[in-house]
Subunit: 298 residues, 2 copies
């Protein structure tokens, strides 16, 4: 496929055969070249879908109504079109295209809608669980460059669901504000460690048009358990990513396709009262180790 | 392109390379085969657009915001998603796919948003101009089958803009209700004739997201002058179409791509006081002749 108009056909008037060419040709030179490229591609593929699918008028109207309802579901707290983009893998694809990195560097995944800007800075080793609910988890690792050298002063912003699958912002009055959120800064050794609780899988909102679509596709709405990270350091590309819990039953069914194989981590169940006491968690507990490998800014 | 998943690649987890396959494969057998076909095509082409265009995160967010705003522009009186479908040629393509007819039969074009169900039935030869404003027009023709035989009892439902480019429903209090609308029924000779005024070109709504998009594409929002028809008869396929005025300056720039070459008619300017008096119009006047050729229902 190409977004240029074919030279060998008459495009004066619309026909079923020349439809995409007629529409693309109508763009004039007053638009930007970028707009022409984007709309050329959109028009070409939109017409290809219609020609492959041959929708009835009723099916076409159902599509119009779906797109309308998806827009009308959006408000200050809900962005149903981002959700649609997420469940069709488009958000992940846009993310992948914009964060291509050399092998060995930590891969990106989607930001998701639950990051907040003003999470509390916490000292290394602190717990981010302000309500203490759930199975204890100790996270250890380091922030390094692609040669394995520690990065000092890297900022690690993390957030996650509670033990029963909700972010603090979804449960105001139940969870304390900023529960399971924290910002850490690495020292000269690049090391990261903090305490938390083990997250679990959860469902993305399915009470709108996107939920209806997922059911019609025979798909679920579950995201496997994960911890979110934004890792940044002066001179390095910022990494927005998750790590995923290796024993989660939904790893291969993430409703938003956020799982990359390189981001799955082994969560080890430990029964070691001495070590638990040393770390300041109750026994038994879980531990996970994860490094973040940043690439230099180009 | 195909909507089947390729066998030769690993689709356990999402990658930039396998993205569409991973998303398509996620559909389970609980959806209908039709839904799987439609969504397979949509997903395949959506991912192809993203790969061709490589949108930045800001561009992707602009697309999300456009789609959201388009939905939120819709209410009981305005359907911005149909407008979007119209200006991208999708409505015409869906119409064309659903109304393929043998050569010689009258071609379909889009219904548009201005048809009303309860237009007045008028006797053959009547005027549909209730306010008398504009240059007089006499429409003559016949409704025939594909062998040229007249069809008796054919119902011709017509509507059009005023001389200055507005439908009655756009100007309540200015135009009388049902101005320039009429339903006629053919006799044994299949003949149609009625009086009206010459329509002019007009702009589709451009005060919403679709108007912004048209401007960014360097496109106008004008539809060339036309008369609308729905022609139906027992035993024949209903034709929804327009005829277009041959001297209109926007014939090759219809914002919704509704013009088909076979639907352009010669509008003749006549200066003939005797004939004008016979027809019951003021002199000078315009005349146009158009036949409607219906195909038998299969």
């Amino acid at each position: 496929m190409t977004d240029s108009v074919r030279e060998d056909i008459d495009i004066t008037y619309f026909t079923e055969a020349n439809s995409a060419d007629v529409v693309i040709e109508r763009m004039s030179g007053t638009g930007t070249p970028r707009m022409a490229k984007v709309m050329g591609s959109v028009i070409r593929h939109l017409h290809a879908v219609v020609k492959e699918v041959e929708p009835t008028q009723d099916e076409w109207m159902a599509a119009i109504q779906f797109l309308t309802a998806t827009g009308q579901m959006c408000d200050d707290r809900r962005q149903e079109y981002i959700l649609l983009s997420d469940v069709l893998g488009v958000s992940m694809l846009v993310d992948a295209i914009n964060t291509r990195r050399p092998t060995g560097a930590t891969e990106n995944t989607v930001l998701g809608p639950f990051h907040v800007e003003n999470a509390p800075t916490r000292p290394m080793g602190a717990t981010i669980s302000d309500d203490g609910k759930g199975e204890p988890l100790v996270v250890t690792g380091k922030v390094v460059d692609t040669d394995g050298n520690p990065i000092e002063g890297a900022v690690v912003d993390t957030w996650q669901t509670s033990h029963d699958g909700f972010y603090d912002s979804q449960q105001p009055g139940i969870q304390p504000e900023h529960n399971l959120r924290g910002v850490f800064r690495t020292g000269a050794d690049g090391r990261l460690w903090y305490r938390s609780v083990k997250p679990t899988y959860y469902g993305i909102p399915d009470d709108g048009p996107v939920g209806q679509m997922l059911r019609a596709m025979g798909r679920g709405n579950t995201r496997p358990a994960h911890l979110h990270y934004i890792v940044s350091a002066d001179g390095y590309e910022t990494v927005t990513t998750h790590i995923f819990v290796d024993d989660d039953p939904y790893l291969t069914e993430d409703a938003v396709f956020g799982v990359k194989e390189s981001l799955i981590r082994t969560f080890v169940h430990r029964d070691d009262p001495v070590k638990a006491a040393e770390l300041g968690v109750s026994n038994p507990y879980w531990s996970v180790e994860t490094d973040f490998v940043l690439t230099e800014q180009s």
